[in-house]
Symmetry: C2
Subunit: 390 residues, 2 copies
């Protein structure tokens, strides 16, 4: 019993009992009427969660990297020019995926780890480039907890005629993102993040311009498994409540997805965004009160779904073991340049005030055991003050 731990990493996150129950339900046929209805409903609910009523959803068995693969494979033709707004490890990955499919990639890099290119730098790059087919943006880079101004970037991209592609792996259903209103042509995520479903589903929402670009291709999609030519008729069929077959859908994960999307929509997207903001503010206040710096170099760059504190002086990765002993699992660093110097706390999905307090408490206990000095309870007091005020 004492081994039960709270999972506060940037995915997988804690899932609700209802979602886990759906995972363990007896599997039915992928063409059974009850499954067809659930798949269709999940696709419709995804439109609501992505705030993209006219979007074409794709749900495919795979990891978040498959979602990136699907975006690049279907939108890029060899020789196409792409601009990558780079804020860390996952922006690097998007550049690699785009290049694999033949894109000529230009990157606008953050001046330093933890920073992000400014809108004016991106605008200058778009202007200088003289015509990119697409631009990719990592809404929250899971490696740095840096969040970019997706709304501003999307407006710039559109203005310069580029398809706007947003990696929303650490964002969708946690960070405020309004796909259709903000003019995002494709957004993607993975199930195990704020969407709140165990890992195994790549989730892609394509707007009309993305579908149009796909339909206008003059070369076949290089990847067989990612090709919308195969998946589009399937998604359209399930949306119309008709069974269809290309690859067997991961039935249990789809059930779990539909349950989780239902829970998210029951809370409401605005309330969901607000909750994530409130919890993030409280946790970040606690981190500051404990005297720790964060990877994002300015507060407005800090993600709402994720916090990345540097270890304080005299403390290293070993403290994560002590924090785990105290009941909470956190993640180590991922960005190669600073990997050993920081850690990551995920706070997305079905996360609560209690989870944040439990996390802060465990961090305090771990830091104290590591010999770090701080005013007793400073983190808890700061977090609680935020909750009480708000």
């Amino acid at each position: 019993m004492k081994d039960r731990k709270l999972l506060m990493i940037p995915g997988p996150v804690e899932f609700t009992p209802q979602v886990l129950r759906a995972m363990g339900m007896a599997t039915t046929s992928h063409v059974a009427p009850n499954f067809v209805e659930v798949f269709g409903q999940a696709l419709e609910r995804l439109r609501q969660v992505f705030l993209c009523p006219s979007g074409q959803p794709f749900v495919v068995a795979g990891s978040g990297t498959l979602a990136m693969d699907i975006a690049a494979a279907n939108l890029v033709e060899p020789g196409d020019r792409a601009l990558v707004v780079n804020t860390g490890y996952f922006s690097d990955r998007f550049a690699a995926v785009l290049e694999r499919y033949g894109a000529a990639v230009t990157q606008v890099r953050a001046p330093a780890v933890g920073d992000a290119p400014s809108l004016s730098e991106v605008e200058a790059a778009l202007r200088a480039g003289g015509g990119y087919k697409l631009m990719t943006v990592t809404h929250v880079d899971t490696s740095t907890a840096v969040k970019v101004d997706v709304r501003g970037l999307a407006a710039l991209g559109r203005e310069h005629g580029a398809l706007v592609v947003v990696d929303g792996v650490c964002s969708v259903a946690g960070e405020e993102m309004r796909q259709e209103e903000w003019g995002i042509d494709l957004a993607l995520t993975a199930s195990q993040k704020a969407v709140g479903v165990p890992p195994g589903l790549a989730l892609v929402m394509a707007g009309p311009r993305a579908i149009e670009a796909f339909r206008g291709r003059s070369t076949p999609v290089a990847s067989y498994y990612s090709d919308w030519a195969s998946w589009l008729p399937i998604m359209e069929a399930y949306l119309a409540r008709r069974p269809s077959y290309f690859g067997t859908p991961p039935v249990n994960l789809l059930w779990a997805l539909n349950v989780s999307l239902g829970q998210i929509l029951e809370e409401g997207m605005e309330a969901c965004f607000d909750r994530h903001r409130r919890l993030s503010t409280a946790l970040k206040a606690a981190i500051r009160a404990l005297g720790m710096e964060q990877v994002p170099v300015r507060p407005e760059l800090g993600a709402t779904t994720l916090t990345a504190p540097y270890y304080p002086e005299g403390v290293d990765r070993a403290v994560l073991g002590q924090i785990k002993q105290a009941g909470v699992i956190l993640a180590g660093g991922l960005h190669p340049v600073i990997k050993g110097r920081y850690f990551r706390i995920g706070h997305m999905g079905a996360v609560t005030e209690s989870d944040v307090l439990a996390t802060v408490g465990a961090i305090e206990k771990g830091l104290a055991q590591a010999g770090y000095q701080f005013p007793a309870g400073a983190g808890l007091i700061a977090a609680q003050a935020t909750f009480t005020a708000g």
Copy 2:
């Protein structure tokens, strides 16, 4: 309660309560020590189930089609010549996947739907081709229930210097397949078939020659998501019980996989093959006793995991609804040429004598309701006689 049905389709199949329980367990981190141990163990168990002790296993989030994609993307370079032994829908698909990655595909086609090319036809094609890089074989084509002589074909392929690739989606852990002994260079399947895990995992076992062919490539793999360059270090790390990251593994499906592989190995591979053979023999005897023909044109072509009866005179697809009312879910036809004229019964994984009797009983009830005349209980008697004979 009365709505509980027995799922006897060619996947997803019925899963054990232990497997479903693993699906619904609280998800942990993909780098947590207990998960690392489970993933490593599952990879080792896969070697035993594929009977390929020196194989390199790959477990990736995706459908069975992804497993085909992984095989083709990593083994084919543009211009490579491939021979496809074609026995139905899924052989057609393998040809399409190979072509997508640049292979020049030659097909040896079955003379008719339900038949398979003979060994001598395949040998002639191999000889005439004067050097194929690889040969693909669909062990059991899920569309026709036709099983090929994988052992004989693999020997021919090797003799002519081709890498032997077996689509074992409807076979591995059900049909007798001895990957290493039979000289199969790569075999693949999906979780929801005889392996007994809900859909969502692509399973690939690569022998040393396949890995060597991959390492000797002069061009990059065209698909980003399928590239062994990314997955090989991950699988090696988990086998060595070290956490590693490329894409987040589908934690719950991995738990379920490890449970199911454990159950299969507890039964033992020989006993598992025997059970599948016994159940298949009984079911096919029942189908014959009920006066129905089967898609495979000769008994030795009939799969052990799957039975594909033609509807008898005067009966059509509607009978599947009546069989379902009687408690058993079967699948319709899939092969385009005969789609409306036959149906499919999957019998693989945790399937029992009772399941076969229940299935035969439901078919009898459905046929009777459809107005088809047969000696009362003929199917049940035939199946039971097989079981009683041992």
